[in-house]
Structure formats: C-alpha cells, structure tokens
Amino acid sequence: MLKVSGLRAAYGPVEALQGVDVDVDAGEIVALIGANGAGKSTLLMTICGAPRARSGRIEFDGRDITRLPTFEIVRLGIAQVPEGRRVFPHMTVLENLQIGATPAEDSYFDDDLDRVFAMFPILEERRHQSGGTLSGGEQQVLAIARALMSRPRLLLLDEPSLGLAPLVMKRIFEIIKEINESQEVTIFLVEQNAYHALRLADRGYVMANGRIVLKGTGAELLADEGVRKAYLEGG
C-alpha cells in the first residue's frame, strides 16, 4: 500500500532522512521506533509532502506521490495525527472535525460524525468547547477522530501516547487496534513507547540517525537484544 524507497529529506543543511526504505501493506499495523531526533516525525511528514523529499520515491497504491502537494496526497486517503496533536485551539471540537472532513464527500459527514461520536462519546459532550481547552487525552482523541473524518485508508500516528496518563495511554492503544480491525484502516505508528507499540504491531522498523537500522515482526524486535538494550530497558 505504502512504499517508501531511498527517501531523503532535509531542513536546510540538516539531513533528517538519509535514504529510508519502508513498506506498509494494506491492513497492517506497522510500528516505527527510535530515539529522539532519529527522523521518525520527519518521515511521516515527508510522506505527506511537508517537507518535500529531496530524493527518493514515495508510492501509495502503486501511484507516485512524491511530488504531489500535501492536500492532494491527503485526498488520496492518507491521514496524519501529527506529533503534538495540533488541535486547532480556537475552534470548537465540531469545527475541528469539520475541517478533518475536508477530503471526504459532504454526503458522508453526518454518518461519519455519528460514528466518531459513538467511538468517542467525550467529543460529543464537548462538541461546542474550543480545542484549546481540552485536556491532553481529549485532544489526542480529537486529533484521531479528526483524522478519521477524512475516511483514510492509511493512518499515520506520531507518538499518540506521549504525555498521557497510563490509563489513557492504554485506551489510546485499544482505540488504534479497534480502528485497524473494525474499520480496516492500515496503521503506521511512531512511538517512543516501544514495548506497547511492538506488542500491538504486526511488523516494526527501528530508525537511527535518519536511517532504518533494523526491521522485523513485532515479536522479533521485542526479542532482539539490541532493541531491548536501546529502547526497552529503563526506557
């Protein structure tokens, strides 16, 4: 479904991605782990065209999307829940969801809204509250719901558990699994919390200094000595 090959991207002189190869198949949950500054967020953003790739190729459903503008990439069925959630603070929950529905047909809106409200009742309760006044967990839920409003086939999630209380975090991982199973959305997940992510994922990649240094199934990576040392123990 998603095929990234030889991808390079940079912020000015800083080379954040130095030739990355990643594949995500339809229906999978794929996790990407790695230390801070490894280039994980940059990879997700570059897939969406912001920043644009310096070289390499990104294919979605066999189509080259490397040079497409962001809004067109998103309209093909890729949604992102970015690092830091980026909920619109001065817009209500409902307006955030309306913006999220931009790529979808208008006729789906009411059904889709019912669907996310059924999944996340808290959002219905808070529908007229502005995004900036929600708690961290609520904002994370809103960011996920907002992404779902576009009816994506591939969902990119960047550290959805960051800064959340353990219980809320557990719930977020359950939600991700639900979205993947019941709504058939393919998931590419970036996580600091390597243990939870790898347990959830079918496959995983480990990134360091802008390169993929290891890949395997979730179980293989969990068992890997290097991964345990670097990302699991004391982490």
């Binding site: 992102q80 619109f88 603070p89 817009m91 307006e95 992404a147």
Partner: protein, 304 residues
C-alpha cells in the same frame, strides 16, 4: 453639543472606510504573518476604477443612482480582487518559506510599482468626480449650529455595517471561512487535513481586496476626488487601525477602524488639524504599551 454630534457623525463615516480597509490587513496578517504593504494601493486602485466606471456609466446614460452604484461596486470589487490575487501570486507566493525580510521588501516594491503604474496610466493630477449621492438633512439645530447628516454618510455607514455583518457570518459559518481560520491557527496542520492552503491564502487576498474596493468607491463618493497617492496614507491609517484593534482579529479591525476615524476627526475639530496623524499614532503606541496584542487581539498561539 451640536458640534460634538457633527464630529461624531463625520468620525464614524471615516472610521467605516478605515475599517473596511483594515480587514484586508488583518486577514492577510492572520494567515501568513505578514503585512501586505501593497494593500493601500489596492484600495487606491479600487477608487480609480470607481471614478472611471462612474464616468463611463454617465456617458452611457445610466444615471439611476442605485443601479449605477451597484454596477460600480461590483466592477470595482471584481477588478480590485483580481489585482489582490495577482499581487499575492507575483510578489508573495514565490517567496513563501524564505526569510521574513524578503516578502516585506517585495511588498514595498509592489506598492511602489502599483502607485507608479496608476500615475502613468491616469496622470499625477487629482481626478474629480461629479457628486453622485447629494443632499442630506439637518438632524438638529442647537446654539445656532446645524448638525448635518448627508445621505452619502448614511449610505457609507449602512453599507459598511451590512458588509461587515455578512463577512463575519461568512468567516464563522462557511467552509471557506473555516478553512481561513484553520490556516490562521496552523497552516501545516490545515494542509495535512486536506485544505488547499495556497488557495485559501489567495482567497484572503481576494476578499481583503474586494472590501478595500468598496472603501475606494465610498471615498470617491464622499470626497469627490481621487489621486494616485491616497493609497499610502489611507493604507497606513488602516494598518494602524488593524494593529490597534489587534492584528489578526476581524472584530479588532472593525473597532480599530472606527477608533482611528473618530480620533482623527475629533483631534482635527478640537485641537489642530496638523497633528491629527500624530494623535492616531500616539494612541496606538499607548495601547500597545498596555496591551501588546491590541484591543481585541488574542495572545499568540503557542505553536508546537
């Protein structure tokens, strides 16, 4: 008291015109964080197009005032909007993502270019217009001073209030308005959600220009003259109004415009006309010292 009332009427009329121009500054600033220094020229072009249209309609024999006004307003808005769109395409979009200084210089260049352009095409002399909306009535008479309310003043204030109300609803309720606000708050995120950011920015320029065109038509009707230099002064006043109200805030631009108009008129009436501009800027400085975000400005959103 009568004198005061008269100044109030004049001040509100002038403030309405500044407010309409100020909306263009505040929208563009809100969305790309940059002052569009060419916006005053856009307003000036709107005024010139209005004079040309009124003259042409007169030659064509279309003299029924409501029809003539409608035609002139529509033509001025459309043509001026095209100018606004073009300025963004030529002077700003190619520089997006570069340093903050480059678009600033480009904006000033664009402003000088438009001024010279109009000067060459239309000449450097003041261009007059036959009065279109004449007359008015005496509101009251006190202490031998008649308070005069012109039909043109009623027209200006009424049209401004209607346009501002429509525009506020448009920004609050429609998809396009929502996209404008989303891009204001987080442009990258709006793009990630499928909003066409470039088009949204273009539309901010287009809408700001169309409102400035209305201000241009009004000023031509009010003063009966136009000159290629009016864009500079009015631009600076309206910009001051936008900052005073809180740059990036729509109600702020409207309030700021009204205040600047009132300050200017009252200062000229009660003190000396020479220092009326200084008065407006002094108020601005004072407000910014105590409220750096302007009267209705929101504190800068923390970007993650």
């Amino acid at each position: 008291m009568a004198y005061f009332l008269q100044q109030l009427i004049n001040g509100i009329t002038l403030g309405a015109i500044y407010g309409l121009i100020a909306i263009g500054y505040t929208m563009v600033y809100g969305i790309i964080g940059m002052i569009n220094f060419a916006h005053g020229e856009i307003y000036m072009i709107g005024a010139f197009i209005s004079v040309i249209c009124f003259t042409a309609l007169g030659l064509l024999g279309i003299t029924w005032v409501p029809l003539a006004l409608l035609i002139v307003l529509v033509i001025a808005m459309v043509f001026t909007a095209v100018y606004g769109w073009t300025v963004e395409r030529i002077a700003y979009r190619p520089l997006r993502g570069s340093s903050r200084l480059a678009p600033l210089i480009s904006a000033i260049g664009m402003s000088i270019f438009l001024q010279n352009d109009v000067q060459l095409l239309q000449g450097a002399r003041i261009k007059p217009l036959q009065p279109v909306i004449e007359g008015g009535f005496i509101l009251t008479e006190m202490d031998g001073f008649a308070v005069h309310l012109g039909y043109i003043q009623i027209f200006i204030v009424f049209l401004t209030v209607v346009l501002m109300a429509l525009f506020s609803v448009f920004i609050a309720r429609t998809d396009i308005g929502r996209a404008q606000r989303a891009c204001e708050q987080d442009r990258t995120m709006a793009g990630l959600l499928g909003v066409n950011v470039d088009r949204t920015i273009s539309l901010a320029f287009v809408m700001g220009a169309a409102l400035a065109a209305v201000a241009g038509t009004m000023v031509v009707l009010y003063y009966g003259v136009v000159h290629f230099y009016i864009g500079f002064l009015a631009g600076i006043k309206a910009f001051t109004a936008a900052v005073l109200g809180g740059i990036g805030s729509l109600p702020g631009a409207m309030l700021g415009g009204l205040l600047i108009g009132l300050i200017e008129v009252f200062w000229s009436a009660y003190f000396t006309i020479e220092y009326k501009d200084v008065a407006a800027y002094s108020i601005l400085v004072l407000v910014l010292i105590f409220r750096p975000t302007g009267l209705l400005g929101k504190p800068e959103v923390e970007k993650v």
